[in-house]
Symmetry: D2
Subunit: 345 residues, 4 copies
């Protein structure tokens, strides 16, 4: 049994982690830490666990003290909060899977620029691995520190990777128009995510400034060995879960929808969690699962390709992918504990 | 392995059955039958199964021909459609779990009155058992034909049973005000369940005439050995899933909220799927699970008790309960394949 | 032109007031006061007014200083906050319409009990009039201080008044099961009204303890000249607006649905804002309007009557009714500025 | 008084027309025609009109017979259905405002290609005018036949027009990623717009093939006197109303966000219904109004501009714009009867 600790367990991503770890046959949860709910039982925060889970949320100090009990530490904190924790855990020989943003960007000046914060563990950046298994499975296998990807980057990179791998597009032409459910904004009280403010409305936000942009660029640049700058626009959609990323790029060759599909099928041939589908993805078909659905169309009139991907932002975009990484780290079957399909409707 | 066939597999309840049976470790699905999607692959109707399920929907004729392959037949059809199927399956020695209404009402004249239809298999009524395991587990164990309860009745009966069992209320005073998500209305195209007609609105419907009324009355009458007539009002709520039943009754003794809670805890002591909770149920905490949450309050000023229950209408109110019944019929652990908690948010 | 000031203009009810006053042909808004947004322009809080309204929110101190400029003061504050304001305004000869709860309950000990607060202006209770025009139009006409009814009471009282007026029911048997959209919980940031906490779920809350209970009882008791104690249960429904009140009572005579309808038609014969409809009310048909729809059914089996009413909680349940009261106070046509029908879908 | 007839009055756009015409001070509705609800009263289809409107829906034959009674005919039918009606009405000297697509595309071969239908009134194409007042006000003034724009085109053209007018962008680089509420799909029963199929999900559809594409291209090509081919992708969002169009293009000069804003302010300086706002549009702030909100950002890293527009698809995207056109045709104030702001929340 893998003994796990979770820091930041009462946020939406943290809770989703607890949900999967609780039912994972090879995992035992040793502690749940929370900032806002210290001393309360976990079901007081999330009634779905009533009767089934009795854990009391501990504070971060106690979590640090109890690190020796665990094999793996999951951290689901806002950026800038995990530097010391990670250091301490690694020092104790504990594997760390960080769902936050601090170890995703390799270049600390890029991090400083986008996050408006000086990186406090630059030495660890080299030792961290970007936890997108479909692209970096081999590296992850031996990692001690996994930087779990952001939700938008997961959807965007999986959608675009084959186009870049097979050199089909003008790399300067990429536009990602992404749409997310409200859970992506987290579980803290603030006016903009009140029911009455989000329901029955859609908006774009953080145009040209969203912090997931350099993360997507870094992964795609690595893939095609060329610096990529792209345009990323997130939107907020009135639904609990789900991300749909609609990605646009100019084709540099004459190629049909079917031919590109063939290449996508090859690229994702052995991937359990990626479904290349003939139709167009809808978030409802992946909601509650760790799957990523991808569909695409060539727009022959404009010589563009449009690739659409759908994920559950809290699962493949956060907690599910973290478990997937854990499975890799500990030599388990990659899909273990993650084999649920979406529940419809 | 239990070999199962499903009739009516492309409705919402039918699909939920497929969902649970597909992942049940002791079950093998032998065929899926559908009225509207014959000849198409199951994922064409429900994209969540893409890549994972390849079954082609067969018609009811073929399903009948293939009955000899199966151990258990699940039927999820509108009322009046299952008489012949049930007869044929039973004749072949197949266990039948009917999610429809045809075998729930013991008195065929009551059935005829509420369903406006003459019952065509009156002889089987005696041999059918009402599949609410928390009350009738022993009978179900040896049944060949299980009449799976309706969604509203499941929530209502579980909420009210202890009050009647412990003789706490005036039996003529019961009022059930129930609220259901839209999936309860099924997956057929009709104006009243269009998105634009249901979203951002709530309504009551079928006041004093809903067909689930005699079903609730029958179960509660049996329980307290007294004819019960009650008032039942269903409502349609803009959400996909969930039923909340708010039940009112006049207390006939001076008893506190805490004392009634004690009796509920005793009544449901060993029930895996019933959670008697201190707070008030919310459908989100049971959505996606086979659980029923129950909370209650005495209104001392009016000498009434208010009991609130919450279930997922498609699971504990339909498919999950059907699997629970199957587990009982085949001697499996009752919760097998049904141990999921609600996924929040 | 009636010169109006609004205190608490940035809450949902306050904003709805501004919305109607802004387009009312006989009103000029003189100031908007806000607790949280002092010094910002109104459209910064509510983008719907961009380009059309330039008012800057002032604080309550400045609002008091500017009282001499106005003829009528609307107050939309939490209970316990308006005592001094009301006193000051009345002293200046300004008509006051208080959307809060402080002057609704005539008996200060009842107020103290339910609101857990000592009433600080007991002397004004006699001079305040309950602003439900359909029942108290004559009193309101000459009032200086109007206590605008709560949202649940408006829906409940209008639903039940004819039953009591015509002496059709057992007065001790009344049960009100009410369902409200989330805007009823106000616009302050708190966890329980986050999108992710309310969406796709329904719950009951404050069973037997909701503060609108004594308000409903007071109005109905006055009407039938008999002390009424009733059971009231509110629910939270995932939609922005709307209240549906499903009211139950035992009939004391043998009377049909049609006969009761006749009495309702008589009772509300000349009421512009009440529609007695043959079908059952749905909140979507009144959303955005000042209308109250009422439908009813006799449940012959249980000798009960079920009356359902629907209003828009922010309009007939708050701001619209306040304008209706203002129209009465100033001798305008009662429906002026309030003649919008619901916009569907 | 302008006497108006409406064909197709029971669809969502038709009903929105009725809603505005009913309260328009200069209009009298003479007849409402419907395909599906002939012989029923209008409030039977739309309960919001109960008590206030008594019109009985007539069939199209009767509508034709009663054309002599009217001054203006509004047609809200699917494409291909209005050819004969338009001809007949024009022949009688009646002004026609067609909310359908048949007279929007000037080139009948383009129409035939995208709509897969031969145009049956090619001679009238020259005499029809595209009813986007902000661009073609002068032409509309003298028109007899107004082709009211589609919903997506209205949002898209208004967003992009200034960029083209001021020659700021590479015309081959335009991408429009548009998101619509479900009412855009109409009020006919079909599986894909059932509540359970749309709620809690987002999808793209008709990529590279949506019929609004040539309509947008035609308007923008006219504007910049250059053939424009662009990429348009519509999405379905779980909300009743609203369109958000996120438009991308490559800048051909070095220009800042502020400078482009200045040009937009100039371009739309005198437009009542267009608000160029500093923030980013949200559909909730225009819902229920005839307004179009526009915001924009330069993405300096990629030399792209992102312009976002928001409209209510049924109002500025259909019925409201039709009324606006009627006002122009009949010499009324353009905003008459259309001055409502969005009602929030």
């Amino acid at each position: 049994m893998i003994k796990a600790g979770i820091i930041g367990s009462t946020g939406y991503a943290g809770q989703q982690l607890v949900w999967f770890l609780y039912r994972h046959p090879e995992v035992k949860i040793k502690f749940l830490s929370s900032h806002s709910y210290v001393g309360t039982s976990y079901p007081q925060s999330y009634g779905n666990y009533a009767k089934f889970m009795k854990d009391i949320c501990i504070d971060i100090k106690e979590a640090e003290d109890r690190m020796p009990e665990i094999d793996v530490l999951f951290i689901a904190l806002p950026h800038g909060k995990s530097f010391d924790l990670v250091k301490k855990a690694l020092h104790l020989g504990i594997k760390v899977i960080d769902l936050g943003a601090d170890f995703r960007i390799k270049d600390s000046s890029v991090y400083a620029h986008w996050y408006n914060l000086k990186h406090k563990s630059v030495d660890l950046l080299d030792k961290s691995f970007y936890g997108l298994p479909e692209l970096y499975r081999k590296d992850i296998k031996n990692a001690n520190l996994v930087a779990n990807p952001g939700c938008y980057p997961t959807a965007s990179i999986l959608a675009l990777a084959p186009l870049l791998k097979f050199n089909l597009i003008e790399t300067s032409s990429i536009i990602i128009d992404a749409k997310s459910g409200v859970s992506g904004a987290g579980r803290s009280s603030n006016l903009s995510t009140l029911y009455g403010e989000c329901n029955e409305s859609i908006k774009a936000y953080n145009i040209a400034t969203h912090r997931h942009t350099p993360e997507i660029e870094q992964a795609l640049s690595t893939l095609c060995e060329k610096d990529i700058t792209l345009s990323f626009t997130p939107h907020l959609v009135p639904m609990n879960r789900g991300i749909l990323a609609t990605c646009y790029a100019n084709l540099i060759k004459d190629i049909s929808t079917e031919e590109i599909y063939d290449l996508y099928h090859i690229f994702y041939e052995n991937e359990y969690f990626v479904r290349v589908i003939d139709g167009l993805p809808e978030t409802r078909w992946v909601k509650g699962s760790n799957l990523c659905d991808i569909g695409l169309r060539v727009d022959e009139r404009t010589k563009k390709v449009v690739v659409v991907s759908a994920i559950d932002n809290l699962i493949k975009g956060a907690a599910g992918q973290a478990i997937q990484n854990m499975n890799i780290l500990f030599g388990l079957k990659e899909s273990q504990g993650l084999e649920l399909l979406a529940m419809a409707p």
